[in-house]
């Protein structure tokens, strides 16, 4: 039984870790989006090359804010039930009884059936959120840009670029990583649900429900 407890505990722990990462990025996206919206509307970012660029930044900031709110809200919803299971697991004696661990597995499966669709949304929104933050980083660091027939040139402010881009790239990488891990979780848990459906025949027979 020990490997089952270890595997279950590890998965639940990692799920909480990944969802916390998503929550943090969602919060960063909300704050950044809000700040950039205000800055663009009020024209506080004087360094920006043109009003068009300011408008574009405002639009990206609004999208970033919306995605941030959505990522934060949906991640909070999916992680609440998993955190409950993790807290119950942590409160248990290390030598969990056979029935107790099954009870927690049933609880986790019941929660997963509820969040299955929402998890798909989180997997999709996460990287988009990171991409918007990355775009905001690029737009902010643009000093000049020109666009002509057959030519396109941009000048980036080096002072801001290095730090901001590294930061936004790190956020984007974190988001892509969390989406990757959440996808792995989703695949594993979908397989488990499929396995349960298959094993229902055995349970049915045990209950004598397949008798004519």
């Amino acid at each position: 039984m020990k490997p089952v407890v270890n595997q279950f505990r590890t998965e639940v722990g990692y799920f909480c870790l990944v969802s916390t990462m998503n929550l943090v990025v969602g919060a960063i996206a909300i704050v950044s989006g809000l700040l950039y919206i205000i800055a663009s509307v009020l024209g506080l970012t004087n360094s920006m090359a043109s009003p068009e660029l300011r408008l574009l930044t405002g639009v990206v900031a609004m999208i970033c804010f919306g995605l941030g709110v959505s990522a934060f809200h949906t991640t909070r919803r999916i992680s609440a039930g998993v955190r409950e299971v993790r807290d119950l697991l942590d409160a248990q004696d290390p030598s969990l009884s056979y029935e107790r661990i099954t009870c927690l597995i049933v609880r986790m499966l019941a929660h997963y059936r509820e969040i299955r669709r929402t998890l798909g949304t989180v997997i999709l929104i996460g990287p988009l959120c990171g991409l918007c933050l990355f775009l905001l980083g690029i737009l902010t660091s643009l000093e000049t840009f020109s666009c002509g027939p057959g030519s396109f040139s941009i000048t980036l402010d080096n002072r801001i670029t290095i730090l901001a881009q590294v930061l936004t790239l790190a956020i984007l990488a974190a988001n892509l990583a969390s989406s990757y891990y959440l996808t792995k979780f989703a695949v594993a848990w979908n397989n488990r649900l499929a396995e349960i459906e298959e094993s229902e025949c055995a349970l049915k027979a045990s209950l004598g429900l397949d008798e004519p």
Partner: protein, 92 residues
Amino acid sequence: MTGRRTVYEIYWEILVYCKSARSFTAIINRCDLNSKTAQEYLEFLTSKGYLATVKEEEKIRYVATPESAEYVRLFSTLYQKLFDSGPGFRLG
């Protein structure tokens, strides 16, 4: 317990909870069921001989019979087998 459960999961929960005699109210509270569906589940389990009714202080209580042990064991084995393999990655 909240969330979407299958009927087999609910049967298992009821049988495990009724290892010692339980009242109808205690069962619906613990297993998060409404009284109508709980009545159906209890009637089914009783008809199959997995639950028995006992009268204690003029109150009817439900208790799991030894026949239910096979179902409970099979259920636990099947559900724990799900964790023979994980998502196939390590975070740390």
